[in-house]
C-alpha cells in the first residue's frame, strides 16, 4: 500500500505544481537599505582597487597642513566608536593604525570606515585583512564627514605621535 500512496502523492504533487495560479502580486512595501552580504565578484574599477569600494568615488582634496580642530573631532568619534578594537601601535582586534596614512590612500581609509562589509567581501586588501584578523570590521554609524575627521586624526597621530587630543 505504501507504494500506491507514494505514487499518488507524487502524482498529486505534479498536478498541484503544474496548475499553480498566478495569484495577486503582493503590494511592494518600501524596504530600508541593508548592507547585503552577497559575495558578488564584480570587476572592480582601478579607482576602487586603489581606493576601496564605497561612497568616496573620486580623489579628495587634502591640504598639507593638518586641521587640528577637525582632527580633534575625529579623535572624539574614534574614541567612542573605534578604540574598542584598535590601538595605534599594537594589534588588538584590528590592525594598529599609527601608520595607516602611510599604508593606505585617504580615500581607501574613508571607504573602509564607511563600508567595511563590502570591502572585506570584494576588495582584495579587505579579503586579506579578514583572513588575517578573522573578525568582520563593523560599520559604526559614522557619517562621511566624521570619516573625514577621523582621517585627519590619523594624519595628526602619524605626524605628531599624539594620540589624545
Amino acid at each position: 500500500m505504501k507504494l500506491y500512496l507514494s505514487l499518488i502523492t507524487t502524482l498529486l504533487f505534479i498536478i498541484f505544481s503544474t496548475t499553480a495560479c498566478g495569484g495577486g502580486e503582493a503590494d511592494q512595501n518600501e524596504q530600508p537599505e541593508v548592507q547585503q552580504n552577497t559575495a558578488e565578484s564584480d570587476e572592480l574599477s582601478q579607482f576602487e582597487l586603489d581606493n576601496g569600494i564605497g561612497p568616496i568615488t573620486e580623489e579628495i582634496e587634502i591640504s598639507d597642513e593638518i586641521d587640528r580642530e577637525k582632527a580633534k573631532r575625529g579623535f572624539e568619534t574614534y574614541d567612542m566608536k573605534c578604540a574598542a578594537c584598535h590601538r595605534m601601535e599594537t594589534r588588538l582586534v584590528g590592525p594598529p593604525l599609527a601608520d595607516i596614512t602611510e599604508r593606505r590612500s585617504p580615500e581607501f581609509i574613508m571607504n573602509f570606515i564607511l563600508n567595511p562589509v563590502e570591502n572585506t567581501r570584494k576588495h582584495p586588501v579587505g579579503q586579506e585583512l579578514l583572513q588575517e584578523y578573522m573578525m568582520q570590521m563593523t560599520f559604526q554609524d559614522v557619517s562621511e564627514e566624521e570619516a573625514r575627521e577621523i582621517l585627519e586624526y590619523f594624519r595628526h597621530v602619524n605626524e605628531t605621535g599624539q594620540e589624545v587630543l
Partner: protein
C-alpha cells in the same frame, strides 16, 4: 510474485481513478482553491508583509508583532511580565516599570492593544495596551517597539475596558471590571457590596508630543461590572462607550446571579463634556495611591512616581455627561461603525445583535425619553435608541468589525463562527466557521473611519485538532480570511503566542521606515553608559560595586575582574558599543540568580549580581555574534568577605 502482480494491477487502477477524480470539475476547483489561498498568503523570501499586526498576549502579559498575510511572528514585546530572554523586568532599567502600589508585579494579563490616533486613524507613533489584573496601561514606542511607560489606575478592580483611544489620542479610557471599594485598604464584609463598592471610569490623558500619560480624571459609577469599551468616531467622536454586566450588583456565583436581568446597559459618556466640567473646576480631589513608571527615548533607566491624588467627578453632580442605553443580556462588545452612527452590542447570551443609533440617542436625550435613573444617571428607553436587531446571528455574538462597503462582521463564540451582515438592512449575508470558539476579530482598519475590505483575522480560543498535537495545552490559533469578495474565504490558520484577545493592524509602510536600526551611541543618555573604552572602570562604594563595561565583537572590556567579595552587590552596566543593525550581545555569569540580559547596538543595560560563594566565575556572551563568539568571555574572581584582594580589571593586558 502473484500478489505483487495483483498489487500492480490494483495500483494502476487506483492511479487512473485518482487521475480521473483529480481532473473532474469539483476537485479541480478544490485544488485551485487551495493554491489560490496559498498564493494570497505567500510572501516570498526577502519580501515584506503588507501589514504589521499587534496581538495581545493575554495571560503572558506581553504583546507580539506579526506580519499579514504571511502569519509570521517578528517580535515579542515585553510589557507587563518579566522576560528572562532579554532581561525585561530583571534589568535595573526595566524593574521600575513593573512597580505598582501593590509592590513589584512580575506578571499580568494583557488584553486590548490600541494605536495612537489622528482623526481616529492609527498614526504609527505608539501602541497602548491594558493590564487586566493589577489595573494598568502601557505605552509602547513604535520606533523601538519597546515599552516606555506604564501607569496604574486607582480605584479600579481589573482594567478590562481599556486601552481604547479617542479621536486624536486625547484620552485612553479605562474602567473597573470588578467594582471595589475606592479605599484600597478598606476591610469590610463582601456582602456590604451595595453600600461600600463603587465603579470607576478612568480618563488617561496623553501628551501629544512625548506620549507621556497622566490620570486626568475619574468618573464615579454605580457598582456594576464594566466589560469593554470603544471610542466613538465621526459623528460620535466626542463620546466613548462601555458595556456593563452584573447590573444586578451580585458578588457571588455571578454565572447565575449576574444574568437575572433581561437587560444591562451600554454606557455612553460624553468625554468632551466631562473634560469641560473638569476644566471648569467640577469634581473633587480624593486621596489614593498609584504608580506612574516611565523612561525617555534616550535614557532607558525607568523611574517611578508615586501619586496620591486623583480628580473624581460624580455624574449626579454634573448633568448631560452620561447616559445608560438598555441592552439585552450582559453585552460583551460595543463596536462603533466607521461613520460613528451605529453602536453594535455583542449580547453574549442574546439571540440577536442589537444595534443602537447614535443620532437616535441624541434625539432621545434631547426629548428626555428617560425610563428611569440610576445613581443620578438617566436610563434611556430601549425603543428610543435601537436602530435594529440582527436576527439569526448564531449563539453568543461578541465583537464586531467593519469593512468599507457597509458590512459588519461579528464573532460568535458559542456557535464558533463569524457572521457577515449588512448595516443597511441588518440581515445576515454570509457566515463562516472558526476553529474553534472565536473571541475577538480584526479587520485591517476595521475599527477606524477607513477600513479595508481585504483581510480579517479571527482570534480563537482552542486549537484541538488543528495542528500537530503537543499535549493537553496548546497555543491559541488565529485564522486569516480573505473578505474582498461576497463570500468570506479562509486562507490561513496559524498558532499564536500567549492568548491574543484583541489585535491591531497597520499598513507596513506606516511603521517600517521609522523603525530604529540602532540606538545611537552619541544620543545615549543612560547615566551609567560607557561610551568610550577609556571610561571602562569599576567603582566600589562599601559593598556596592559598579562595573562599567563595554561589548563589541568579540570581547567584553574588562574581561578579567578581581577583588569582588562575598557579600558584594555587583551591578554590571554594559554598553553595547556596536552601531550596526541587529548586532546584539548578551551577558550571563555562572550562578546568576537573575536573568541574562541582551543588549541591542548602542544600548546600555544593567543586571544585579550577588555572589554567595568564593571562586572563579566565568561570564560570556549569550548571543552568537561573530566567528569568535565562543571567545567572547571573561572571568570574575570572588574572594572571601575579609580578603585583601585589590579591585583590578583589564582586557588583553
Amino acid at each position: 510474485m502473484k500478489s505483487n502482480k495483483i498489487r500492480l494491477v490494483t495500483g494502476s487502477i487506483l492511479l487512473m481513478l485518482t487521475v480521473m477524480i483529480l481532473y473532474s470539475c469539483s476537485t479541480q476547483t478544490d485544488v485551485m482553491g487551495t493554491q489560490n489561498a496559498a498564493s494570497k498568503v505567500y510572501v516570498a523570501p526577502g519580501e515584506y508583509d503588507e501589514y504589521y499586526a499587534f496581538l495581545s498576549g493575554g495571560y503572558n502579559g506581553q504583546m507580539s508583532v506579526w506580519g499579514l498575510p504571511s502569519g509570521r511572528m517578528f517580535k515579542n514585546i515585553s510589557v507587563f511580565s518579566q522576560y528572562p530572554e532579554t532581561g525585561y523586568g530583571y534589568s535595573e532599567e526595566t524593574k521600575p516599570l513593573l512597580q505598582s502600589s501593590y509592590g513589584f508585579i512580575p506578571w499580568d494579563d494583557s488584553h486590548h492593544p490600541n494605536f495612537s490616533r489622528t482623526n481616529s486613524t492609527p498614526d504609527g507613533r505608539w501602541i497602548f495596551i491594558n493590564a487586566n489584573n493589577t489595573p494598568r496601561v502601557a505605552r509602547i514606542d513604535l520606533t523601538s517597539f519597546e515599552t516606555q511607560e506604564i501607569i496604574e489606575l486607582p480605584n479600579t478592580g481589573g482594567n478590562h475596558a481599556s486601552s481604547f483611544v479617542t479621536e486624536n489620542t486625547e484620552y485612553i479610557i479605562g474602567a473597573t471590571r470588578f467594582s471595589i471599594p475606592y479605599d484600597a485598604d478598606l476591610d469590610v464584609p463582601i456582602d456590604s457590596y451595595k453600600e461600600n463598592f463603587d465603579g470607576a471610569f478612568t480618563f488617561i490623558g496623553v501628551d501629544p508630543e512625548s506620549g507621556r500619560m497622566s490620570i486626568d480624571f475619574q468618573i464615579k459609577m454605580p457598582p456594576y461590572h464594566y466589560d469593554i469599551g470603544k471610542a466613538g468616531m465621526g459623528v460620535s467622536s466626542d463620546w466613548v462607550f462601555f458595556t456593563t454586566y452584573n447590573t444586578e450588583q451580585a458578588h457571588s456565583l455571578l454565572e447565575v446571579t449576574a444574568s437575572e436581568f433581561d437587560k444591562d446597559y451600554i454606557v455612553a459618556v460624553n468625554w468632551k463634556k466631562a473634560e469641560e466640567y473638569v476644566n471648569a473646576g467640577n469634581g473633587e480631589i480624593i486621596d489614593t495611591e498609584y504608580y506612574h513608571n516611565y523612561r525617555t527615548e534616550h535614557n532607558p533607566m525607568a523611574v517611578s512616581d508615586i501619586i496620591n491624588k486623583v480628580k473624581l467627578i460624580d455624574p449626579a453632580d454634573v448633568p448631560g455627561m452620561i447616559y445608560l442605553l438598555p441592552t439585552p443580556k450582559s453585552p460583551h462588545g460595543v463596536d462603533v461603525d466607521p461613520t460613528g452612527e451605529y453602536l453594535v452590542a455583542g449580547g453574549k447570551l442574546a439571540t440577536t445583535i442589537p444595534v443602537h443609533s447614535f443620532s437616535k440617542m441624541l434625539d432621545a436625550i434631547e426629548n428626555e425619553r428617560f425610563a428611569d435613573y440610576d445613581s443620578g444617571i438617566p436610563i434611556l428607553e430601549y425603543e428610543s435608541t435601537i436602530a435594529g436587531e440582527v436576527e439569526n446571528p448564531g449563539l453568543g455574538p461578541l465583537h464586531t468589525e467593519f469593512d468599507n462597503e457597509g458590512n459588519a462582521y461579528t464573532s460568535v463564540y458559542i456557535s464558533s463562527e463569524i457572521v457577515k451582515w449588512s448595516l443597511s438592512d441588518f440581515t445576515v449575508s454570509d457566515r463562516i466557521d472558526s476553529y474553534y470558539s472565536i473571541g475577538h476579530l480584526l479587520i485591517t482598519g476595521g475599527d477606524t473611519p477607513n477600513p479595508d475590505k481585504k483581510y480579517m483575522l479571527g482570534l480563537t480560543k482552542t486549537a484541538r485538532d488543528r495542528f500537530l498535537p503537543v499535549g493537553p495545552k496548546q497555543l491559541h490559533p488565529a485564522q486569516l480570511y480573505d473578505i474582498s469578495g461576497d463570500k468570506m474565504e479562509l486562507i490561513l490558520d496559524f498558532p499564536t503566542y500567549g492568548e491574543p484577545h484583541y489585535a491591531q493592524a497597520i499598513a507596513a509602510n506606516k511603521l517600517n521606515l521609522n523603525a530604529k536600526q540602532i540606538y545611537s551611541l552619541s544620543d545615549n543618555e543612560h547615566p551609567q553608559a560607557t561610551k568610550r573604552p577609556r571610561d571602562v572602570r569599576i567603582e566600589r562604594d562599601g559593598n556596592e560595586v559598579r562595573v562599567y563595561m563595554t561589548s563589541i565583537r568579540s570581547h567584553f572590556t574588562p574581561d578579567n575582574i578581581e577583588g569582588i567579595k562575598v557579600g558584594d552587590t555587583v551591578y554590571f552596566h554594559i554598553t553595547n558599543v556596536e552601531q550596526d543593525w541587529d548586532m546584539v550581545h548578551g551577558f550571563a555569569i555562572k550562578g546568576m540568580e537573575n536573568s541574562e540580559i541582551l543588549f541591542a547596538p548602542g544600548e546600555t543595560k544593567t543586571i544585579k549580581w550577588e555572589p554567595k560563594r568564593t571562586g572563579i566565575y566565568p561570564f560570556y556572551c549569550t548571543a552568537f555574534c561573530s566567528a569568535l563568539h565562543q571567545e567572547m568571555q571573561g572571568y570574575v574572581r570572588v574572594s572571601a568577605a575579609d580578603s585583601d584582594v585589590q579591585l583590578t580589571w583589564g582586557t588583553g593586558e
